[in-house]
Symmetry: none
Amino acid sequence: MSTVSGEQLRSFIDRIERLEGEVQEIRNDVKEVYAEAKGSGFDVKVMKKIVSLMKKDSDEIAEEEAILETYKAALNM
Amino acid sequence: MSTVSGEQLRSFIDRIERLEGEVQEIRNDVKEVYAEAKGSGFDVKVMKKIVSLMKKDSDEIAEEEAILETYKAALNM
Amino acid sequence: MSTVSGEQLRSFIDRIERLEGEVQEIRNDVKEVYAEAKGSGFDVKVMKKIVSLMKKDSDEIAEEEAILETYKAALNM
Amino acid sequence: MSTVSGEQLRSFIDRIERLEGEVQEIRNDVKEVYAEAKGSGFDVKVMKKIVSLMKKDSDEIAEEEAILETYKAALNM
DNA sequence: CACTGGAAAATGCCGC
DNA sequence: GCGGCATTTTCCAGTG
């Protein structure tokens, strides 16, 4: 019986766990930046909104907004 | 009228976006590892289960310690 | 030794679990309504947005919007 | 131009809001139970731990079955 | 291309 | 009142 595939599997798993650990570290960094910004008087919630807006295409934003307006109109809002 | 320091705000936003870019890169790396493993004949779904179980195990150690702390605190220890 | 407090504790826990079970049922009902709406051609994501907007005070919405605009202006967006 | 049936939409939204109102009531009830328990000398934090552990136990049964299914599927059973 | 499951973000709650 | 934590909700990639 061979354990080669077991070793190989372990190697893949290790690589993945290492990478996910790195992701966690960076996430903590992001939190720290937000905390620092908050300490400087910025509104974190709004900052997050800005960041998410910057990710989206402007066409996409307009499209979503249009649907929302349609629904609001249907509800007389 | 209230103003905000555009320069400072931009700096915070830039740092966040840079960090999030790094996260994206690492997530691509993770995907590549899974793809490579799949190419070696491993079942990706099972691998993901294993990774999540290993994560859950370490979470549970932390959780057990947290429970212990809670009980100790409740008993004024 | 008395088990009175144990019984009392159990009673509290039971009441809580019962209430939380009811919450789960209602949440399932909500999901079903969304599913039905989707089946009628409505956009669930937008509906959720509407529901969340209706929860908020209009002053609150205006306030957040104003801050967002200020930040966007500071970033020349 | 695309329109939506305002009446139908309103009906769905109303149903959802009604259900969410019920959820809020029950959550208030839960808070009251915790408050009452606290008034009887119980430690709320510990109680919440107990409730969450009991929930986790039942979740784990489902989880174990899911894992088993995954493995069985991977083995083409 | 809709559905499901899992990751990420947002919200609410608690103690300090 | 704020920060940390847990829960809830939202988002997104993978799958059929």
